[in-house]
Symmetry: C2
């Protein structure tokens, strides 16, 4: 049997950052995020109801928190973002896709 | 700031397969599994109360289900294992570590 692969079937249109659910269950959501030079949110900070554990699996990104922490992330680097910890993606590599895996939980 | 990295700080002793919690919350558990030629469980099948979404991020493995499905997994391949879907790790690469990320959820 062929398994699905996180690094394959990338979106053809990356004019916007692409968020895709892999698993959506009562207490958890697993999401693939594909970025190509995008920053997010467009303005301000993410302020989320859920905790988010996020790992970069390909590419490079900079994750900033309102409290001043700045993480330069590359493949394998992960950060846990507690609910309401205000944060943003300040930079992603504009030349190669960055693939994230995010697990949202309560 | 330096983030933790899933591919670093591997266990020195891999005489047994190593399971490490990364996140443990009410409805979800995120675990790193490092295998080196191990198969598991030692006999029979896993029959779990929780659902498990699992991805191989480095190395190679074979995942079998009692229903006859056999998955040859390499980096990026993922499978969702519903609760009580009996399964086992039939093989992992004996020459290089295999690193899995597993998300257990209800």
């Amino acid at each position: 049997m062929n398994a699905d692969n996180l690094f394959e079937n990338l979106p053809a249109d990356l004019s916007n950052e692409v968020f895709e659910d892999i698993i959506r269950a009562e207490g958890v959501r697993i999401e693939r995020i594909v970025s190509l030079g995008h920053t997010s949110p467009e303005s301000g900070w993410y302020d989320q109801e859920e905790h988010e554990w996020v790992i970069v699996l390909k590419g490079k990104a900079i994750l900033e928190f309102e409290d001043g922490r700045v993480y330069h992330l590359s493949a394998g680097d992960y950060v846990n973002v507690p609910a309401h910890a205000r944060h943003k993606v300040a930079w992603t590599d504009p030349d190669n896709v960055t693939i994230w895996l995010a697990v949202f939980y309560r």
